[in-house]
Symmetry: C2
Subunit: 541 residues, 2 copies
């Protein structure tokens, strides 16, 4: 089999395109329910299209679905064996591969990192992974308990990039009500020297613990930022080796007792974007919130892992979300998914979901190496509500491109502090806006003034929980992880590698060698005419 | 003329669709340059398609354009009288209107807020607006100089939402090297009570100045958050009236000397999303950085206002960017625009651009009230590079949907602090990545392994400046503002209103009245079956 650029081989028979359910859904998409028609968006509809599990309710009556479409979507899940693949993943079968080509060929076991509660997996690979993780958790617990006694470190700087940065950062932001006094966490991910300079500005290095995160120990940004930070400690007359810990693979350059107080290990079966429930999140969250808070997060994530194994699709929240997403993406042909949490604590959550979803499912070949003839992962972005309402909702309501929304909300605020003004609390105002937007987007509004016309039929759903606790944050986290995995299973793509980031890395190193060559005033750099031209054009040397 | 839902009246003759240049561009779009072909993406091409003005270089050789396309785009600018409309806007003609329907009918004079330097506008409306603003700037200067002497207030909380929040916040983040010691700014915009609770957590109210921002003085979120904050001052035994200032319209409920130490005024000819160079940004930036830094920001913005009047399109950077965007949006049919500043200081900049662009150009009717038959403003989102590379670049390189990029970079870092590792500095690593990505996205790469195939032809351009100084930040800010305005001029839509945010507001108030009615235990709330159902379903009462 020879791969060609952009075109699938003639022999291709892409599973997703050939399911009977796919054909059925294509036909149904020609005439989806019109939510703007009087009598369609009724109270009964909103009640009917809602489901609840593990503390979360999903309201999807404001999506352009009906019973026929739901039935066909369930058939799609069955034909693609979505649930079986989820079971295999959690049990520890090899899921990260491409048939017939060199690939990572790995198990995918982030669920094993939180399999400490009810109904543990019994498969060998999964159980072994959980046992390995328990040792690391014990190390974290001991390390942090000691620090809580001595109070040696009050500030932690994490040096990480990608999922191992954005995931923990999003949870850190979300749970700050639970944060210990006298604990601060600072994030450095960008190789931009200003990212480090800015963090240094307000830092007392004497009280600072630096956590360096890289499984391979060779990530360009992280290596450079670690060296930069070590130099600051040395400049300040401090021994960096007494201030640094690492999160890495055993045997990597970061697994070095001379340079790190301690190393916490992870493995190739936990991808960076699924690493928040592994030591990546564990070290950070235990430092700032205490181990018990992290444990609660794991418990919530595990509860959602169980939900993802639920055969009744309407109770399997991640699978239901995956199917709704596929309906919007492949059949209604919407390119984007907009995440709007009506919770300011989830300020960084869209950056995390964006990373998980787009790096996992932004793929162009299926698991047999055949270029797909259908759309895969959406362009995903967002902002918190109500902020988003005063930002891009103008376009969502009246723009020419329809972008489906995922709205997230909680009945109670996290801090519990509130104020009544004009007869209602801030929390009530927040929730009224959340509900109003789902209805307004779907129903639209006609008017004699064309500028006041709202076309409607703009799909959204609401994920609703009781309160943003560590447990519920864990469950929400896992809900999104499994939504992403289910979509990959249904499309039959490999959601667990990231070959698409390689080319840019290679070219960056080539251009970098020209900077280096110039610095050394010799011609050691490999010539790369395009990079050289840009360097000259921008007067960079 | 009667407006109908979704369909333009038969009599419509939409200007944009009927330009000769539009027809020409449609034809050219059938066969855009293939940047993956050997010999296309050459050093000569990169040099040729680049231009420089006011301290910024734009490199657009990695867009799918050629000479013919550029010529047609210039014709489009001419046919749509884009430049004449920019001149009219800056001179103070009424630009915010819809022909034949009730509309705001206003001038659009954010440029007058910074017209203190060379070549001032001579038109009456513009000159008057500038004179009004000068008085407000004098008030800001005096107020802040006094505070700098007494050091009464060390912390400022701004309560604002939408453009008047996101714009100043993005500049505040970007210039933090210039921040005064002992000055901190906190942002509350979301009506979520946790947004306020979180800010209160670390605040010494005795040293805190609260700036309440609402032109009308009636924005739901801001009114609620102000009341919430005032209650905290009272609870702490402090008189809120001695801690609050307002930024508002003269005569609004916020223009009240009993309740505010001072009020700073704005007018209906400065929209919230264009308000950063008005008092909205002035108060915040003068508090944190000193008036002189804000003045430098204004100077840079004004320099770009002049560039936007430049008749030579290749020297008119905002117009050139507008045309490239229209090429990608209307002719290559890309729905999104991804903003990636290779500068961590611009962390919040994409949220600002997102607001400016999507609220301005997310429109479905033209200036005659006719529903458009072409695409208007794109879905716009982003993340800083190199962070984005480890997040969504997988999809940008190998996903099934192409999303054009706007890359932004600076030759020098802001802090000037750096470190050499493996022969190069962090800044050099940052810039190598920026350049490499533009090339990788355009050129792609073939491979025998289908998972290592990069299809290429993914358009991007680079906006490049010397350093992120206050002046250059002002120029960049205005570059984006004018890019957005030019696109609106070319599409012949009204970029200056936001009717699309009204429906959600109205429905939210209706749902809110049900919370209120329940609280009062009577039936005063207007019944709204959909809202009521959701409230019951989610067990909110």
């Amino acid at each position: 089999m020879t791969a060609t650029l952009n075109k699938p081989p003639l022999s291709s028979k892409l599973a997703f395109s050939n399911y009977a359910a796919t054909q059925r859904l294509k036909a149904l998409a020609a005439n989806p329910p019109d939510l703007t028609k009087p009598g369609v968006l009724t109270p009964e509809r909103l009640t009917k299209y809602s489901t609840e599990n593990a503390g979360y309710t999903i309201l999807f009556g404001t999506e352009r679905i009906n019973d026929e479409i739901l039935t066909a979507l369930k058939e799609l899940a069955a034909e693609s064996k979505a649930l079986e693949k989820m079971k295999k993943m959690q049990a520890g079968e090899v899921m990260n591969f491409i048939n017939g080509y060199p690939s990572e060929n790995r198990t995918v076991l982030h669920t094993a990192m939180r399999d400490f509660f009810d109904n543990p997996q019994t498969g060998k690979a999964a159980a072994e992974a959980t046992a390995l993780e328990r040792k690391e958790l014990d190390k974290i617990k001991a390390f942090m308990e000691k620090n809580d006694q001595t109070n040696q470190f009050t500030d932690m700087v994490t040096i990480a990039i990608g999922g191992s940065d954005l995931g923990p950062k999003s949870v850190h932001g979300a749970l700050n009500f639970y944060q210990k006094p006298n604990r601060r966490v600072h994030f450095i991910s960008n190789v931009d020297p200003d990212a480090t300079a800015r963090v240094l500005r307000d830092l007392d290095l004497k009280k600072t613990l630096v956590s360096v995160v890289s499984k391979s120990g060779t990530t360009m940004e992280t290596v450079a930022n670690e060296a930069f930070m070590r130099a600051q400690f040395t400049k300040a007359g401090l021994d960096p080796n007494k201030h640094f810990i690492s999160i890495t693979g055993e045997g990597s350059p970061l697994d070095d007792p001379k340079k790190y107080i301690q190393s916490f290990f992870s493995w190739d079966f936990v991808g960076g974007r699924f690493s928040t429930s592994a030591v990546y999140g564990g070290v950070l969250l235990s430092f700032a919130y205490g181990f018990q808070t992290f444990w609660e997060f794991l418990k919530g994530a595990h509860a959602m892992d169980q939900v993802a194994l639920e055969p009744n699709i309407e109770k399997n929240l991640p699978l239901l979300l995956a199917l709704i997403g596929i309906w919007n993406r492949n059949f209604l042909h919407h390119h984007d998914l907009v995440i709007v949490p009506y919770s300011q604590q989830l300020e960084f959550f869209q950056s995390h979901i964006q990373q998980v979803d787009m790096e996992s499912n932004g793929k162009r070949i299926d698991k047999n190496g055949v270029a797909v003839d259908f759309e895969t992962g959406p362009l995903l972005w967002g902002q918190t509500g109500t902020v988003a309402q005063h930002s891009f909702y103008q376009l969502l309501h009246q723009g020419t491109t329809i972008a489906p929304l995922e709205l997230i909300g909680f009945k109670k605020s996290q801090y519990g502090l509130d104020n009544e003004e004009n007869g209602t609390s801030n929390q009530e105002k927040l929730l009224s806006n959340l509900l109003a937007q789902a209805i307004a987007l779907a129903e639209g509004k006609s008017s004699d003034n064309p500028n006041k016309v709202f076309p409607g039929n703009r799909p959204s759903h609401i994920i609703f929980g009781e309160q943003l606790t560590p447990y519920n944050m864990g469950a929400l986290f896992a809900m999104i992880e499994h939504r992403v995995a289910f979509q990959g299973f249904i499309w039959d793509i490999n959601s667990f590698d990231q070959e698409g980031v390689q080319l840019g890395k290679v070219l960056a190193v080539t251009i970098l060698s020209q900077f280096e060559a110039n610095r050394k005033k010799n011609s050691a750099g490999k010539p790369f005419p395009l990079g050289e031209t840009l360097i000259k054009k921008l007067k960079l040397l």
